[in-house]
Symmetry: C2
Subunit: 612 residues, 2 copies
């Protein structure tokens, strides 16, 4: 299916037939991300996961009884270790791929086409899921605070989606400004919870239902430990977002993105470890209706206003985690478009450095998902994190391959770091898929290959087009030919005069073409035309249906001269207000589109601007 | 607001700036209506109303006790008399207005602008209501036969709407073929009910709940009689449809339409009178859950298969009554468009003589209504029939005016006939509005003026445009000017060659325009261009954003020479499959639309047809 030669020729298209802008040359000061705005814009997905990652792990462990909770701290240490490996990997990815794209870019360079498509498809699915899950979680959280909203969670999610989409249309840096405050409150309050909790080791159980004894339902074994590990790993989703969105950062781009990545890693590691220590010290257990984070917060602050401020920040950050996708996915889609694996339109930018079509595609995807599951998070959770962990694995395998081939100093150590990370994330993927397959993960298993096929078909199509346009070969020299310009007309008015003047400028021969229902009407039109004395002949076509389109089409087909350039010049009224457009030009537009699709004539439109 | 002068000038526009086809010259044999297909296509609205008209009258009378039912026959005689007056009026309307439009055309000619707009707005509203009410009634009837559908009546209605819309897209005559059979079964079965019922006067009460004594809730007075009259008049809706849709008939158009109208009147009169006589003979009373028509049918046929066939035909005809609107409204909208009171697009026809945009507008309107009332007929009934009776009244007043002004032989008799009809239908309008105002008729009272304003605003807008285009005045003579053609390009390929060749044919001066991110890239482009040796200069614009649109726009604005025709020639890739269009040309389209809206340059597109 794939034509290697066509691919090489494509190297020229991207600076030619396709979109031409090179990322990294367009962004303006003020539209770019610094370390702190980068954290706000791209790390909420990762940071917000401390609100559910540790809890997910504990909920698995508790199945083997409260005694199993002693594994919380060691497992968290393993996960933070994995986080360190991932942060190292992604700082390397950022350096090697300053155009962004993360796992896709790494796989494309080091592993070939299929792994690259797999990474892209996985990331696309996970990004869309992130938006849907985050907004649904935020809406659910809001619904538990305002019970009046509880029956309208879908609408609340969709309103959030519209707002976030609109915000991102202005640019990722603009969205970051709005996210800075909730992000800061969130981080500060969790750090405060940890500090107060560790320094004032009081009992925690001040809120929630009374403690219930947990009966072990399963034995503590390697499978359960692995499941707990995988569940805890959900706290790592979002670590890849910065590497995917490098082009949005301020110069020196690579350094800024790397520092942001390291800051994110440090912050996330501290929070995860701190919470695990607190859980360990206070022997916190899952309690009906109250999250573990809320228990810890109440333990540290009591249930006064700091408790509520902290909870509100958690809610906000859960919802705003969706923004991470808006930073990452449009860039990834633009790279896919640059590689001819998606419509080139995804590479188009307006004056602001924003890939609007990618943003709209993301919003539509998330909307469809939210409506499909009726705004209920639980139905999306099993699909979540699989894509990101496939991406983690692929990018690290790609780096291993890279070190083996380039063999820089200490390449064995580097390869060992990435290899260890790859094995760990691959284990998480297998556990995710195995344990959640029937609950919904099968959707991902179906959707990923479908997306890969879509990318592949698009690529193949563009390759065929490039072949047909003979891209890469020098074409023959151009030459002047005789020019005939046709002006469809009805009677004589100011528009006719402008059209005929323009046609006389463009053509060696100008012919006005009109349609009449019968000979009598045809004579009338001819007389009116000759009264005008414009020195241009008129051809009145008699058609009982008075179909201008059919008549012009027939006339054009009858000219049939070789070596002649035929142009049809259509005057077009441009109203001052856009909404008045439905009052004009439908026949002209119809004629235009029929001529374009059925003939080889040049279709020219002459704008006539109305002033009222 | 209204400019009389502009209106006169408009007489020319309609054969020029606006749409040009004259109705009556376009239709093909086989796409036109005969008397019988005309009845099937345009009279189901009227004929189906015998299923509810008499019942509506009886339900009013019974409020004054069973004794009041003695007024059934006399009131029916009055209504049939009114029917005769209306049929006479509308045969006159058909003769005077072979282009269709009914009340609107009459009012426009004889009563002036405001009554014409009132008639148009009333008819538009009633046509849309007819579709919604008919489909909802048909769905309800189907739901009572198949209880499984009872909870999905809205969906059933909407499916019916889609089918009917699709059918009418092929033409009114095509739709008539499908309606012929149910219409014939309906008429034959009702006639059989009457004949059997009159010749075999057996008791009727064989189905339904047991007879209950009716307690009079109100006294029998003139108000009740008037209300019963108005309710019974609902059987006359649809009588106007043939006059509205004259252009759809076969030649000799006027005679065919008139004969159809008279046939409809005779048929409807016979059915109404026959049913009233049956009701009178058998002392039929309203019974829970069984319509009077069903009682009469059961009385004549028993409850065997003829009963079910007859009931099925009633159901079908109730639903298919919606087709009447598809025959009438698009023609009316096209006439409004011809008078510049609606967008000219409503006057566009494809190869078949069908006003598709009008059909789509009708379908959308009915869909909105159905969804708004959730498919429940009862909520629409109070709005119904008001519009038609306003139309009846206006058209008859118009005729009275016509006779008074033209004074043909026996004009006094003619004026008396129309005048009597006008008074009677006006009474019905007043009773409708008065008795149903709070139940929903206020919606009509609001909607009619809003529609009139819409028509009026559209008319005013087109008048302003005509003034700006100096329509009706001979423009100056056209003249040739110097022609500069710009070809936006990136690098050299087959498309570039074709575009430059075309540009050389069209222009005295040809300049290729490219955009580069920096000087280095600009040099690269210039080198590639000079290697080609095409004798056309290239202008490489340096723009850090690489915005082709902004650069071309700036370049065009800088040319700024008087007396020069500037053309921008954009090559456009035309894929073989429509769905591949999203893979091409977005930048070209964007450039095209920006140039059209912001500059006066000619935008020419050169199609390049792909073969794969």
């Amino acid at each position: 299916m794939y034509v290697g030669g066509a691919r090489r020729r494509f190297a020229k298209v991207s600076s030619q037939g396709g979109p031409v802008r090179r990322p990294g040359k367009h962004a303006e000061e003020g539209h770019e991300l610094s370390v702190s705005s980068g954290l706000a814009a791209l790390s909420l997905d990762a940071l917000s996961s401390v609100a559910y990652g540790p809890e997910a792990m504990i909920l698995v462990l508790i199945m083997a009884g409260t005694g199993a909770l002693r594994f919380t701290l060691p497992l968290t240490l393993v996960i933070v270790g994995l986080l360190a490996l991932l942060v190292i990997s992604y700082t390397q990815v950022i350096e090697a791929h300053p155009d962004g794209g993360g796992a896709y870019a790494v796989a494309k360079l080091n592993l070939g086409r299929v792994p690259a498509l797999l990474a892209a498809a996985s990331l696309v699915i996970d990004y869309v899921l992130t938006v849907a899950v985050s907004l649904a979680a935020g809406a659910a959280s809001l619904g538990s605070v305002f019970p009046g909203l509880a029956h309208h969670l879908l609408i609340v999610s969709l309103i959030g989606l519209v707002l976030l989409t609109a915000l991102n249309m202005f640019g990722i840096a603009e969205s970051a400004r709005f996210l800075m405050l909730p992000a800061a409150v969130f981080v500060v309050s969790i750090v405060a919870v940890i500090v107060v909790g560790v320094t004032h080791p009081h009992p925690v159980a001040v809120i929630g239902t009374s403690e219930q004894p947990f009966k072990p339902t399963t034995a503590l074994g390697i499978v359960l430990i692995l499941k707990a590990f995988a569940a805890g790993c959900s706290a790592l989703t979002g670590v890849e977002a910065i590497a995917n969105g490098v082009p949005a950062f301020r110069q020196p781009r690579i350094r800024t993105a790397q520092r942001t990545e390291v800051s994110l890693g440090a912050l996330l590691g501290v929070l995860l470890l701190g919470l695990a220590i607190l859980i360990h010290i206070h022997h916190v257990l899952p309690r009906g209706g109250v999250t573990i984070l809320a228990q810890l917060t109440a333990g540290a602050f009591g249930t006064g206003w700091p408790f509520y401020v902290s909870n509100l920040a958690v809610t906000a950050v859960l919802a705003l985690a969706a923004n991470t996708s808006f930073g990452g996915l449009p860039v990834l889609l633009s790279l896919l478009a640059r590689d001819h694996r998606l419509p080139h339109a995804f590479y188009l930018r307006a004056a602001r450095p924003v890939y609007r079509i990618g943003i709209i595609a993301l919003a539509l995807g998330a909307m469809v998902l939210l409506v499909a599951v009726d705004g209920v998070t639980d139905r999306l959770i099993p699909l979540y994190a699989i894509g990101v962990f496939i991406g983690f694995t692929i990018s690290q395998i790609g780096l291993v391959r890279h070190w083996r081939e380039t063999r820089p100093p200490r390449w064995r150590t580097k390869a060992a770091i990435n290899g260890t990370g790859a094995v760990m994330t691959a284990i998480a993927v297998v556990v995710f898929l195995g344990s959640k397959f029937l609950e919904g993960a099968w959707v991902v298993v179906i959707a990923v290959p479908l997306l890969m096929m879509l990318f592949s078909h698009t690529e193949h199509y563009y390759a065929e087009v490039a072949r047909e346009l003979k891209l890469g070969r020098t074409p023959p020299s151009p030459g002047k030919r005789e020019s005939i310009v046709l002006v469809p007309t009805t009677t004589v008015n100011l528009l006719t005069e402008q059209a005929v003047s323009a046609a006389m400028s463009l053509g060696d021969t100008v012919i006005a073409v009109a349609v009449a229902g019968d000979e009598e009407e045809a004579d009338m039109i001819r007389r009116a035309w000759s009264d005008w004395k414009c020195n241009v002949p008129i051809e009145v076509l008699v058609d009982p249906h008075r179909s201008l389109i059919r008549s012009v089409l027939r006339y054009v087909e009858n000219i049939n001269e070789e070596g002649v350039t035929i142009t049809v010049l259509i005057p077009e009224i441009i109203p001052r207000k856009r909404r008045h457009e439905i009052l004009h030009n439908q026949r002209g537009r119809l004629l235009e589109s029929v001529l374009k699709s059925r003939t080889d004539v040049i279709v020219a439109t002459l704008p006539f601007h109305l002033h009222d």
